[in-house]
């Protein structure tokens, strides 16, 4: 009958005002500024910057390549994830829980770290090349002395697409399984009952009902692949939008066309997001009963089970190749011209903890991420509380703004900060080229805020408002109720959200690369990037640091997964 207390305490209003100022200043203001710089030149509205994009072959090439990467990766993700989603969504077999857990493994490493390892094994005379030569020479197709048959890193485009697909298909999988689980089995059974063949059933009932999930997953995959900065950089593939923006950001005011480029990305992402919301909104069907499929599903026979294992096995094996390559790189003493390292060592790990640049990076990242996580906890818990418990003016707008970072690429936000605060006299303390600490914390926190909000919101939904009412009824003030009842009851969700925010902040790529310009302020990811560019010993050190980051992500994903359970997938949904 009621969503909770309707009294609007001064605390809630004050908090809402503070959050609005924070999000307004650090999210809406930079975006607005970029829009202004893109459309208004010398005080009047113009499309000149956009038409100049069209005339510049370099810009046009970058736009084409980025679109190509986004569309191809999304399509490949669907191809990879859909069969797996159908298998787990419709059938049951022994070991299903373990296999579905394996699907998430690729998420534990940012793709640009994987790229450092993959560079090693996909290049000329890398593992792939060597194995291919061995195979072909075994059949006497080429001579065993052939050096360098293929180089998958050449040009970089193929490598980027492979890496992105292997990284993003779990997100598609999470969206698809959620959509499938939402389809009431009775709807399918009644279609079967009315005489529909399995294919007709899929075409006319199951597929239309899972469309919203497919859209949601596609949008996220497209945006993430379209806007990834780290992977193309590592592959030296500079003809994509994010890398061009990255280069432009070093001297923002010299090239106004970059504003048009950024705004183009913003508009594209916003359009994609709006489209997905519209399509999935219109196609959100009311399911009469809550699904009963859950853990059940049609049991598979022995052959079916083997096929299911094979499908998961092939995909997971492919997906962990980048991880394995990074691991091998991190322990290899010498790895030249052989499929596997010829001698191994742990010295890279000890180096990580003894070198000054790596330790500075780790210290910086710990500091930045702790700060950004604290911001996320305060703001995220507050927003989730308002969304779940208060009937307040502007609630809908708050929801949209808080979720906006999901569709907002990191390099766009970072570019906006550079444009807004570099050389700024009124906000000198925020100038990232002087000291990026404040802006890095803020950008990490803004980017991961949706994780926190969704995680805690899920907690509030599970806590009946009558717990809070009982407390107030017994005389506790709303503040005391929040402290003694509400927060303790959602503490697990706060912890889960904070773990995710922290570890994703530790491995945040694009804002780190753009905002941190001096070595003393480098966070881990920028140190990894800088090392990976150092041909001598760098890649091994970078790989060793990547392994440490991976360990951190594994732990936090395991903890959050335990707390959030089935609802974990919601964090990665549009």
């Amino acid at each position: 009958m009621s969503e909770g207390p309707s009294h609007k305490g001064p605390g809630a209003v004050l908090f809402a005002a503070l959050v609005s100022i924070f999000l307004g200043f650090f999210l809406l203001y930079p975006m607005g500024l970029m829009l202004q710089r893109a459309f208004i030149v010398e005080g009047s509205f113009t499309m000149a910057l956009f038409t100049s994009l069209w005339r510049d072959p370099n810009r046009l090439d970058a736009i084409r390549n980025s679109m190509l990467i986004g569309v191809t990766v999304t399509a490949l993700c669907i191809v990879v994830a859909a069969p797996l989603a159908v298998i787990t969504g419709r059938y049951s077999f022994p070991g299903k829980r373990w296999l579905t857990g394996l699907v998430l493994v690729p998420m534990i490493m940012p793709p640009f770290v994987g790229a450092i390892g993959m560079r090693q094994i996909m290049a000329r005379n890398g593992a792939v090349d060597i194995i291919l030569v061995r195979l072909l020479s075994f059949f006497n197709i080429v001579s065993p002395d052939t050096m360098g048959l293929v180089d998958l890193t050449r040009g970089g485009l193929v490598g980027v697409i492979i890496l992105e697909t292997l990284h993003l298909y779990p997100i598609m999988y999470l969206n698809l399984t959620a959509a499938l689980a939402n389809v009431d089995p009775a709807l399918e059974e009644s279609a079967r009952n009315l005489g529909a063949s399995p294919w007709r059933l899929f075409r006319t009932v199951t597929f239309p009902l899972t469309m919203p999930g497919l859209f949601a997953g596609s949008i996220i995959c497209f945006i993430w692949a379209f806007t990834d900065l780290g992977t193309p950089l590592v592959f030296h593939f500079h003809r994509v939008i994010p890398v061009q923006i990255f280069n432009d950001a070093k001297a923002v005011n010299e090239n106004p066309a970059s504003f048009a480029m950024v705004v183009l990305v913003i508009l594209l992402c916003a359009a994609a997001f709006a489209l997905s919301k519209r399509l999935s909104g219109r196609r959100t069907y009311y399911m009469l009963s809550k699904n009963t499929r859950g853990a059940a599903g049609v049991p598979l026979g022995r052959r079916g089970t083997l096929l299911a294992y094979a499908a998961f096995g092939v995909v997971t094996t492919l997906a962990v190749i980048p991880h394995i390559s990074v691991f091998l790189l991190s322990i290899s003493r010498t790895w030249v011209g052989t499929a596997l390292p010829s001698s191994v060592t742990l010295e890279w790990f000890s180096d990580v903890f003894s070198r000054e640049d790596t330790m500075v990076g780790i210290r910086n990242s710990l500091f930045y991420s702790t700060g950004s996580t604290m911001i996320d906890v305060v703001i995220g818990v507050g927003i989730a509380y308002v969304l779940a418990r208060r009937r307040m003016f502007g609630r809908g707008a708050l929801d949209i703004v808080a979720m906006m970072p999901l569709a907002l690429p990191g390099f766009v936000l970072a570019f906006g900060y550079v444009a807004a605060f570099v050389g700024s006299r009124s906000f000198h303390f925020l100038d990232p080229f002087v000291n990026p600490t404040a802006l890095l914390m803020v950008s990490y926190s803004v980017r991961r805020l949706p994780f926190m909000v969704r995680s805690v919101y899920a907690g509030f939904q599970q806590v009946s408002p009558s717990f809070e009412e009982a407390s107030m009824n017994l005389g506790a003030t709303p503040q005391r109720t929040l402290r003694k009842i509400t927060i303790p009851l959602v503490s697990a969700n706060i912890l889960a959200g904070a773990m995710l925010c922290f570890s994703f902040a530790m491995l945040e790529v694009s804002d780190s690369l753009i905002l941190a310009s001096e070595r003393g302020f480098y966070p881990i990811t920028k140190v990894i990037y800088a090392l990976s560019m150092d041909i001598q010993r760098g890649p091994n050190l970078a790989a060793a640091m990547g392994m440490l980051g991976m360990a951190l992500l594994v732990v936090s994903l395991l903890i959050s997964g335990r707390v959030l359970g089935e609802r974990m997938g919601e964090l990665f949904r549009a």
Binding site: M1, S2, A470
Partner: protein
């Protein structure tokens, strides 16, 4: 302990008017019931007393003091929630102690009051358990103790027994009445279970579509229902459509499909206008008849059900089926005539029954 007065309370949720101009007085120390079907606004009314809902119009008084704009945490009411709302991260003792800690009660007094509250609800031996280690009935008792320990001005109970099984529900009815006797606290109790209300209440208010239809002691409400909704909702009754033929004093003669029936005018009927009306008689008031006469209807018994202490007849007459209770065994399980005692037959205004769950014969 306080006397509670609600004055012209109106509460809307969007387009829906949940409570519509309700005025009621609840005496100090009274065990008062708000009874009505689900969605009638009774819980909203209770939450308005607790301060969780702000009424669009009207005032709430505790002992003559206007508390309309006092926030929930300063009203000193004790509420027992339908789902108990025991905090899962606190033990039984911590749950009960919470309201006392809020009131900064000294430690020794706190322990003593928690112990006696748990004693009162017979849960002293479970004080160190967590709520998820308790059965539904035990959680119910803890929720009562938690609300009572603060010595509330009034105790508000929102369908407190609806999550319990039938046997436990009967047991808890007596428990709550005992606690009311022992504490003397003003209790306002919301339920949709008319048997609960009839058996426990000192007075009850029957609510329908956000309005109070009738207030009074259970006997009055049961025997002298103000309108046909109350007659059908509180207890069971047979309803017949009819046309007023003549009236003299309190007695009205009605022409029905079963023939002429004479009865008493209900509280809100203007018999002088004649026309259509509804005839109501409760199953237990009907008696088998040996021969024809006034208020005797002829027909046949289509089903007899033995219920132990009584027997239930389904009796068909004039195209209608009516229900009657007879003493079992009566020796005449299948009568062909029934006598409707005129002082037990009530004549109502028609038309208020539509869609309200009454049984139309």
């Amino acid at each position: 302990m306080v006397a509670v007065r609600l004055e012209n309370i109106t509460k809307r949720f969007g387009e829906v008017t949940a409570v519509d101009d309700v005025t009621v007085d609840i005496a100090e120390g009274e065990l008062f019931f708000l009874l009505g079907p689900s969605g009638c606004g009774k819980t909203t009314l209770l939450r308005t007393i607790a301060g969780f809902e702000e009424a669009e119009a009207g005032r709430v008084f505790f002992d003559g003091r206007d508390v309309t704009s006092v926030p929930p945490h300063r009203r000193n009411t004790g509420m027992v929630f339908q789902n108990y709302a025991l905090w899962p991260h606190m033990t039984v003792a911590e749950n009960v102690a919470y309201g006392l800690k809020v009131r900064s009660v000294s430690k020794s007094e706190l322990q003593q009051r928690v112990a006696s509250a748990l004693e009162m609800v017979r849960m002293a031996s479970h004080s160190q358990r967590y709520p998820n280690q308790l059965s539904g009935g035990q959680q119910q008792r803890v929720a009562l103790a938690r609300a009572l320990v603060i010595n509330p001005g009034c105790l508000l109970l929102d369908e407190p027994l609806s999550n319990l099984d039938a046997k436990l529900r009967l047991e808890m009815r007596d428990e709550i009445r005992r606690i009311h006797r022992e504490t003397g606290v003003t209790m306002i109790y919301v339920t949709h279970d008319q048997k609960e209300a009839l058996s426990m209440a000192q007075r009850l208010a029957v609510i329908s579509e956000g309005r109070i239809v009738q207030v009074g002691p259970p006997e009055d409400v049961y025997h002298e229902p103000a309108d046909v909704f109350v007659a059908a909702f509180v207890g069971e009754t047979n309803l017949l459509k009819g046309t007023i033929k003549e009236f003299s004093g309190g007695a009205i003669t009605v022409l029905t499909d079963l023939g002429e029936v004479t009865g008493r005018a209900a509280a809100r009927i203007d018999a002088s206008r004649g026309g259509p009306c509804l005839v109501s008689i409760r199953p237990e008031d009907i008696r088998p008849a040996e021969s024809d006469g006034d208020n005797v209807v002829a027909g046949r018994t289509v089903q007899y059900t033995f219920l132990g202490d009584v027997g239930q007849l389904l009796f068909e007459s004039g195209g209608h089926v009516m229900k009657a209770l007879v003493i079992a065994p009566s020796g005449n399980e299948r009568p062909d005539r029934l006598y409707l005692p005129p002082d037990r037959v009530l004549i109502f205004e028609p038309g208020v029954l539509e869609g309200r769950g009454g049984r139309d014969v």
